[in-house]
């Protein structure tokens, strides 16, 4: 069974942390080097936190955990995120 959403669904959680919309940014995966729009990554939400994985190689691109007092963000699977200047 495919049990993931599109990276797009992380937009709300990420908007707590960033003023720009990261889901429309171009992301490069640390694992395989593929570059895609972050919205096209696979988002697993039926878990203790939100996990985005590369659609090409399943590397964890990003994790977000919201606790009652803090939000934890781990971006270690992303080589970069590219956002156009406004």
């Amino acid at each position: 069974m495919s049990d993931y959403l599109d990276g797009n669904a992380a937009a709300g959680a990420l908007s707590e942390l960033f003023a720009v919309d990261l889901t429309a940014a171009i992301a490069q995966c640390n694992g395989c080097g593929q570059t895609t729009v972050f919205a096209e990554s696979r988002l697993y939400v039926d878990a203790p936190g939100m996990i985005a994985r590369c659609a090409g190689c399943d590397t964890v691109l990003l994790r977000v955990v919201t606790t009652p007092t803090n939000t934890y963000l781990d971006l270690r699977g992303l080589t970069y995120l590219r956002v156009p200047n406004s």
Binding site: D3, A47, P48, G49
Partner: protein, 198 residues
């Protein structure tokens, strides 16, 4: 705290014999942090690595040749569901670690698919944990962690690593996948140790 949603209770109901903040379910919810690995038992291997780097390995035949136990325990997931009297079959970690030479205090469980979770070694011993390969009389399904998962029912269920492939023992405590992202390093459901600092 913000507003209250009039008439909203949530999927709960609690129960006197449940840890705080948990609700009872009769289903077996599948949580997934990634794609489900499908590991053939022919290729399955379980490795214990000690603090000196020594390795002890079991393949599927070796694991299933060890004396197994029937286990009936309540399980508690940090996403707030609890399931009572779940039945498993597996090999006690006491059996697996009996001949392992170690003075380590901590263990990191590693899984196929890359998941990790950390535990004090003493929480794996004395009849508290198993490598389980049957659930409810059937071989453990891949979506629930088969062919074999760690079972440590006295801690939140994220500690019971699905698709377990090994333990790395060490003198110092490192943090696993969820523990590095804000979850509690120990995770006792009765003390409601969900998040770091709880």
């Amino acid at each position: 705290m913000g507003i209250v949603s009039p008439g909203f209770t949530g999927r709960r109901g609690g129960g006197t014999d449940l840890p705080p903040g948990q609700y009872l379910t009769h289903e077996f919810p599948v949580l997934s942090a990634g794609p489900t690995p499908h590991i053939l038992t022919d290729h399955w291997e379980f490795t214990v690595t000690t603090e000196t780097g020594e390795k002890y390995k079991w393949d599927w035949a070796a694991l299933t040749a060890l004396p197994a136990e029937e286990i009936t325990k309540d399980i508690h997931c940090v996403t707030r569901w609890s399931k009572l009297q779940t039945t498993w079959k597996g090999v006690s970690l006491d059996t697996l670690l009996a001949d392992v030479e170690t003075g380590a205090d901590f263990a990191m469980a590693h899984s196929y698919g890359g998941y990790t979770t950390n535990l004090p070694l003493e929480d794996l011993l004395d009849g508290q944990s198993w490598i389980a390969y049957e659930y409810d009389g059937e071989p453990l399904h891949a979506e629930h962690g088969g062919p074999a998962r760690l079972l440590v029912p006295h801690l939140y269920f994220w500690k019971s690593a699905k698709w377990v492939r090994g333990l790395v023992l060490s003198d110092s405590e490192d943090l696993g996948f969820w523990e590095t992202a804000g979850y509690h390093e120990y995770g006792d459901p009765w003390k409601e140790q969900r998040y770091a600092g709880d």
